[in-house]
């Protein structure tokens, strides 16, 4: 019994050494070592409460990252307007709530606005606009509208407002936003793996010209993926607003969360998960794991008493690290006849 397990272990190490370059293995080993030491020495790291905190933080960035993953996988790069879409959504939601339309109508109203925001960007990108330029422009547009709409003030609404369950409710001990994250992650992965739409995302992302030649136009693809990303953004905005019973355009800007700008965090999450920036390779599961991972490291650093500077630095390092490792792994795996 022990004999066979040691054979398995040897095979595993042998396979690692064969399939990956020593540089990759050393980098990953060093990283794991830092991670384990950090976790072991952080006070209160492995408590139930702390793990819940990690998952909660991961959920907010993670849901947006899952949405953005569709855009990236389909070869349409990134939306630089994730934060501003969330700002527009949160103002729309809170304004509607404070006007007394109730949760269901306000939710619907917000989603319609978010879908329109996504569709406009998708249309422009699909017609050949550069994603960076289009979404940078859209970001300004959305932020401007929401700032104007709310007079740059906090829009608050009274409790009970019927949305507490989403903002601060929990189920089986887990916050509902975490549960939403898990459900969305599973659903997104199902869509990518098992539906023909998911396959189209990969095909168009892998080669847009070949996608067009086989009947999959990027125009409709870009519109669809941008709507998905915007809806995910809006969902996070609604959950956030439901928790704090208010909204302000700057909720998702630099003061948000722990490590800087929301859009940058979401993009970081997609990249740390190892999704190809050029599209066609990756999965929403990778982004979900990336979200949990970044949130864990961030949490560890908080427990160690680091302030926001070093934590932003750590996120930056993780992106660089992940890009390097995945690039090396990819290069090693290609053999041509």
């Amino acid at each position: 019994m022990s004999n066979s397990s040691s054979v398995v272990k040897q095979n595993f190490i042998h396979r690692l050494a064969r399939d990956y370059s020593p540089l990759v293995l050393i980098m990953v080993a060093v990283f794991i070592a830092i991670f384990v030491i950090g976790a072991a020495t952080a006070p209160n790291f492995l408590t139930v409460l702390n793990i819940k905190t990690i998952l909660r933080d991961a959920a907010i960035v993670g849901i947006m990252a899952i949405g953005l993953t569709f855009v990236t996988l389909s070869g349409n790069f990134f939306l630089l307007s994730m934060k501003e879409t969330a700002a527009l959504s949160i103002i729309a939601f809170a304004t509607s709530m404070s006007a007394g339309y109730g949760f269901e109508l306000s939710f619907l109203f917000t989603m319609v606005i978010a879908m329109a925001a996504g569709a406009i960007q998708g249309l422009l990108i699909g017609l050949g606009g550069n994603p960076i330029v289009v979404t940078l422009g859209a970001a300004g547009l959305f932020f401007g509208i929401s700032s104007w709409w709310s007079d740059n003030l906090v829009v608050s609404f009274r409790r009970p407002h019927g949305a507490e369950w989403l903002g601060s409710g929990s189920f089986l001990g887990l916050p509902n936003i975490t549960i939403a994250f898990i459900i969305i992650a599973i659903f997104a992965e199902f869509v990518l793996r098992r539906t023909s739409f998911g396959r189209q995302v990969y095909l168009v992302g892998s080669n847009r010209a070949a996608g067009r030649a086989t009947g999959h136009e990027n125009l409709s693809m870009a519109i669809k993926v941008c709507i998905i990303a915007s809806v995910c953004s809006a969902f996070v905005a609604i959950a956030f607003s439901a928790q704090v019973s208010s909204a302000h355009v700057n909720y998702f800007s630099s003061s948000f969360g722990s490590s800087g700008d929301m859009t940058i965090m979401v993009i970081a999450t997609v990249m740390v998960g190892g999704n190809s920036i050029m599209g066609g390779y990756g999965s929403s599961l990778r982004s979900s794991i990336g979200a949990v991972f970044i949130s864990t490291v961030d949490n560890m650093m908080v427990l160690h008493g680091y302030n926001s500077g070093p934590r932003v630095l750590a996120v930056g390092l993780m992106i660089v690290f992940s890009i390097m490792v995945f690039a090396l792994v990819q290069r090693g795996s290609r053999s041509v006849e």
Binding site: R194, T195, S196, F197, G198, R199, Q200, Y202, L203, S206, N207, A209, A210, G211, R212, A213, T214, G215, H216, E217, G280, Y281, R334, S335, V336, E337
Partner: protein, 506 residues
């Protein structure tokens, strides 16, 4: 005389694939050595090893009798080995002289364009482009001229050994002849040239000796004069290739499946009219740039047109997008499979089902079992090894990639199949298989239209040929009149123009 370069017992593995298993290579000073073999035989690996791109090989590498093992292409270049890749590495917005001295050595650090132009002139003359102004922007030259510029750039480093990897693959007849003339000139001046090509006629025209690679092993170098096309193909395949082209029989003409009316793709000079019949292979013959490919692309809805219509299945229309064409059963393979024929980073299976996602899914959910069955069936039909289906399409050799690019259309059961350059960059073995398959599809009732600049192919594959000359439809040649001579006359000089003959002295 001692070989200037000698490689013995070279072994190279990529994971489980043995690309080379103890191959030998040698070349004498001033010799033109043809390097041939099927795709996957190890030609490109051999080229990479010689030119220093691949350092992970075992075996002996002797340059001028000195044992070497390059770890980078720069080292190889410094030792006098230069390689002209299939893909051009020119910067098209820069002028010719700037491109020639792109590496920056052998010219002063600060040089005006004029100095560069003066220094570039001799190299241009050497490759037969003496008439080209070194200050012309590179993208204003033809593809063939650009290939020559690429070689001129290599000559600026004064290499002893020059490797030309499929230099004529993307070129028409006139430009190919220029390349061959240049090879002859360079070898007369004492340069050793390794010439890799699928075009066997060229190999015979210019090589002194030929080395054949087969399954990673090399055959003894042979004098080109001792071989002919048949015996060379036999060496490459390890078996006799009976008939490259399937037999043709005169077909009864029935009602056309598609009538092309005044179709005017952007790059043609006027609209074209012809009929397409089920069960027939129709050829569109023309030189590179004549617009034959554009006609196919226009029928498939993948390029802009000025007008025209198709009468097809009782409808009169012109597809505005490839999707529309696919939905009505028109399949189209462009001449550049890497650009829009394949998803190189995705598995072969996904490539094979890419055009028919609807038929393998129910309510938007894919049915993996159904997909797997369909994909395996279509792979076997096109002699693609089904056990390789999970692999990325990008790891396949050119021939197998082309088979995948074609086989993906079987999934939509097309009535009309349009293929531009069906065998570009495809080895002899796979070529015969593709011809056979196209013929079978025609026999099963599909209408097939093939556009090709390969004169052998366009003479021997189709049942009927329509000739195009510089964007003008010239005529139609039936099976009874079909010969390379009649086609060539119509596609090169239909109006019996004098002059413009240039250097066609080969």
């Amino acid at each position: 005389m001692q070989p200037i370069l000698k490689l013995s017992n070279i072994k190279r593995n990529y994971g489980a694939i043995k690309a080379l298993r103890g191959a030998n290579f040698e070349i004498m000073p001033g010799e033109v050595m043809g390097l041939v073999g099927e795709n996957g035989a190890g030609k490109s690996t051999m080229v990479k090893i010689i030119s220093g791109f691949d350092s992970g090989f075992e075996g002996e590498y002797l340059l001028n009798g000195e044992q070497l093992h390059f770890s980078s292409p720069i080292q190889a270049e410094r030792s006098g080995i230069a390689v002209a890749q299939q893909e051009l590495s020119l910067i098209k917005t820069m002028c010719v002289a700037e491109n020639i001295f792109l590496a920056g050595d052998s010219v002063p650090t600060f040089a005006t364009k004029k100095t560069l132009a003066k220094n570039a002139k001799p190299y241009l003359e050497e490759v037969g482009l003496g008439h080209v102004d070194p200050l012309t922007s590179t993208d204003r030259l033809s593809i063939g001229e650009q290939h020559l510029i690429e070689v001129a750039r290599l000559l600026a480093h004064d290499p002893q050994i020059l490797i030309l990897d499929e230099p004529t693959a993307a070129l028409g007849e006139t430009d190919s002849i220029r390349i061959l003339n240049m090879v002859n000139r360079l070898s007369e001046r004492g340069k050793s040239i390794i010439y890799v090509s699928h075009r066997l006629d060229e190999i015979f025209k210019i090589s002194d000796r030929i080395i054949v690679l087969r399954d990673g092993e090399s055959q003894e170098p042979r004098q080109a004069s001792e071989l002919d096309v048949n015996s060379l193909v036999e060496l490459m395949l390890g078996r006799e290739l009976k008939n490259m082209y399937p037999k043709r029989i005169k077909k009864e003409i029935s009602k056309p499946i598609m009538e092309v009316k005044n179709l005017w793709p952007d790059r043609l000079l006027e609209g074209v009219n012809f009929n397409i019949y089920a069960g027939e292979i129709l050829g569109l013959a023309g030189q590179l740039g004549s617009g034959t490919g554009d006609i196919l692309a226009a029928i498939a809805g993948s390029t802009r047109t000025r007008g025209g219509e198709l009468i097809y299945k009782g409808k009169t229309f012109l597809p505005k997008s490839p999707k529309e064409a696919i939905d009505s059963g028109i399949a189209y393979c462009s001449d550049d499979r890497k650009h829009d024929g394949l998803f190189l980073g995705r598995p072969i299976s996904e490539n094979l089902s890419s055009a028919a996602l609807k038929s393998i899914s129910k309510n938007g959910i894919r049915l993996p079992k159904l997909e797997n069955e369909m994909v395996t069936e279509n792979a076997i039909k096109f002699t693609i090894d089904p056990s390789r289906i999970p692999q990325e399409a990008g790891v396949l050799s050119g021939g197998n990639q082309q088979k995948v690019a074609l086989a993906k259309w079987l999934a939509i059961h097309p009535d009309v199949i349009l293929v531009n350059e069906p065998t570009r960059g495809v080895d002899v073995g796979a070529r015969a298989e593709i011809y056979q398959k196209l013929r079978e599809l025609a026999d099963d009732g599909a209408a097939i239209v093939v556009a090709s600049t390969d004169i052998q192919e366009i003479t021997n594959l189709p049942d009927r040929v329509i000739t195009i000359y510089r964007g003008i439809q010239i005529g139609e040649i039936g099976l009874e009149d079909m010969s390379a001579a009649t086609i060539l006359e119509e596609i090169t000089n239909p109006f019996n123009e004098k002059g413009l003959q240039g250097d066609e002295d080969l």
